[in-house]
């Protein structure tokens, strides 16, 4: 007895392989040990035999080619995960034998995505109404009767009583300026027996000329409507000590603005550098505001009318923030301005300024940096070494503010995702992007709950996908990727 010990099959485990034909003449029993150079091989390892006649007298054994093979019943082993297999044949009553490997692997690998951690900071600011008001008076004149209005006067003031005026009447040039101390006089020239309408018309013109910087004068017929240009508490219009006899009605009491020149601070994230950008939003009421010029911050002026409602103020704030398209998106209704940063990442929450608005600042949903933006992994077209142009990197462009990392010698597969996207969403987008590579000639891909199965469309072994910094996990699941070896040891006579 002696041993016959040799390798009878050496091939690729990702393809079907048949070993050499073994001349089983003189062999009594034998075992066949199959093993793999990877732990993904899938398929069937079996023995085939043949009793094709080889007449040694006429045929050289080495030149004889077996043509009729049959599976040896019960000598088949299913292989998964590249496990070794052993087949022992106790009675080798066959003329020829060979080892056969049938690959059932599909060249698949799985890529398990993780969710994006990016969160855009969100905070709701609740506005309040402006308290500012413009003083307004409605004066009803009377007709002159035999110079009854001569030397009479009435009083009005600009906002906050900054300037006090008296309006006096000079009938036919016979009047005398009362010259009230500390006040500015406005002469209204009329003629004797002027009608009330004429008196009012002349008054409107005179006041507009003299005090047009402080008030707006309107009205018709016998009315003089005086409206202050600025907000603020103002002494009501009234008749003088030498009275005109006009009727004075205060239509609107002047009041100071509570919001003018106030501000709050807020911040966004620079889409490129991801650094925090600082702003202050200040309110310019009735165009009376003064920019507070907060150091180190960019101004966002918001204009509103005196006495604007909280809803109007909020609408103006939303519009101003939405104009900063790289920084904020503002939504909401009524008094609410829901401020969402355009870019993910943490920033300082919005708070009231040193000149406070008095607005309400809700608890912020704090921003979180994306774990996937600009990160990538590598995947390769089938072929070892990887064919030219077949090395890809799959990178993630979060919220469209990513920058392709462009590793040398690799072709980009960009996957656009939104911050905070789930693993399943990312898997779906990733599968689509990978499948589209190279005109859809290299891979097919499908997603199931964030696990993307990628199947090579090109034949042959492949360099499995691997991570660079995505945090994804990778596994070759669809069959072998290297070699199978079958060694036989036989007892021979």
């Amino acid at each position: 007895m002696r041993n016959v010990n040799l390798t009878v099959l050496s091939g690729e485990d990702f393809e079907d392989e048949a070993g050499i034909q073994i001349d089983a003449n003189q062999l009594v029993s034998a075992s066949f040990h199959a093993f793999f150079a990877d732990n993904q091989a899938e398929g069937t390892f079996k023995l085939q035999v043949s009793n094709d006649i080889c007449n040694d007298r006429y045929n050289a054994v080495n030149d004889f080619t077996v043509t009729n093979w049959v599976d040896l019943p019960s000598y088949t082993v299913s292989v998964t995960a590249g496990t070794s297999a052993l087949i022992t044949v106790p009675f080798m009553t066959y003329r020829w034998v060979r080892a056969v490997w049938l690959n059932t692997g599909t060249g698949e690998q799985t890529i398990t995505a993780i969710a994006d951690t990016g969160v855009k900071q969100v905070q709701t600011v609740t506005t309040i109404a402006d308290t500012g008001a413009l003083e307004q008076s409605d004066i009803t004149t009377v007709a002159d009767v035999a110079s009854s209005l001569n030397d009479t006067y009435f009083l009005f003031s600009s906002a906050n009583d900054t300037t006090d005026y008296y309006v006096w009447y000079n009938v036919d040039g016979a009047g005398t300026d009362p010259s009230l101390p500390g006040m500015t006089g406005i002469e209204v020239a009329i003629v004797e027996d002027d009608t009330a309408d004429n008196v009012a018309t002349a008054s409107r013109a005179a006041i507009t000329t003299a005090a047009g910087a402080d008030v707006v004068v309107t009205g018709a017929t016998d009315h003089i409507i005086i409206t202050n240009i600025l907000t603020g508490v103002t002494t009501d219009t009234a008749d003088g000590l030498v009275p005109t006899g006009f009727i004075f009605a205060t239509v609107a009491q002047g009041a100071a603005s509570n919001l003018n020149s106030t501000y709050f601070t807020l911040s966004s994230v620079n889409q490129v550098t991801k650094a925090q950008k600082n702003f202050y939003l200040w309110l310019n009421i009735n165009s009376e505001g003064v920019d507070p010029l907060v150091a180190g911050r960019t101004a966002i002026p918001v204009a509103a009318a005196a006495g604007a409602s909280d809803s109007t103020i909020a609408t103006a704030i939303r519009a101003a923030l939405n104009g900063l398209t790289d920084d904020f998106v503002a939504s909401g209704a009524g008094a609410a301005a829901i401020i969402t940063n355009e870019a993910f990442g943490p920033v300082t929450v919005a708070v009231d300024g040193a000149a406070p608005t008095g607005f309400g600042f809700g608890a912020a949903t704090l921003g979180v940096t994306s774990n996937l933006n600009n990160h990538y992994f590598l995947i390769n077209r089938a072929g070892v070494p990887v064919p030219s142009g077949g090395e890809y990197y799959v990178w993630f462009n979060v919220d469209s503010i990513g920058t392709a990392p462009a590793p040398s010698g690799k072709t980009a597969i960009a996957v656009a995702i939104s911050s905070g996207a789930s693993a399943n969403t990312i898997g779906g987008l990733m599968a689509t992007a990978i499948a589209a590579a190279n005109g859809s000639a290299d891979f097919s891909a499908s997603n199931l709950s964030g696990v993307v199965t990628v199947t090579n469309l090109q034949a042959g072994p492949f360099v499995p996908a691997s991570d660079f910094n995505s945090g994804f996990t990778f596994a070759v699941t669809g069959g072998g990727n290297s070699t199978i070896t079958v060694n036989m040891n036989a007892l021979s006579l």
Binding site: M1, R2, N3, N5, L6, T7, S29, A30, S31, F32, H33, F35, S84, A85, L86, T88, V89, P90, T485, N487, M488, N489, A490, L491
Partner: protein, 120 residues
């Protein structure tokens, strides 16, 4: 025909052990008896085989190291409380074999495996 009778593993049974390779050239059949020095060992004894090719013309048997081992199906014994076991291989159609002790618990002395083989 002749008998080859030798000890192929003498080791601490309180840890898993792998015996040395056995050149099974010329061996037709073999049995492996397993004995423990105490009654506490629990685990599995099994026989592994390798057909890694060895060319006696160019390699010295003693210096050759098989690298690809596989369990021989059905050639294992479960050990409970240091009970002895025997494993018989009727058809020794392997180029190399070895014994493997996989401890799961217990063991405080030794495991001994003796082989008796029928050789051509």
């Amino acid at each position: 025909m002749r008998n080859v009778n030798c000890n192929i593993l003498d080791a601490d049974d309180s840890m898993s052990q792998t015996g040395s390779k056995i050149d099974s050239n010329q061996l037709v059949s073999a049995s492996f008896s397993v004995v423990f020095g105490d009654g506490t060992a629990n685990g599995t004894v099994k026989i592994q085989a390798s057909n890694d090719p060895f060319n006696a013309r160019y390699n010295a048997v003693n210096s050759f190291t098989p690298t690809n081992w596989v369990d021989i199906p059905s050639m294992s014994a479960t050990i409970t409380s240091g009970s002895p076991a025997i494993i018989s291989i009727p058809n020794m159609a392997y180029r190399w074999v070895r014994v493997v002790w996989t401890r799961t618990s217990g063991g405080s002395t030794t495991i001994n495996v003796n082989m008796d083989a029928l050789s051509a």
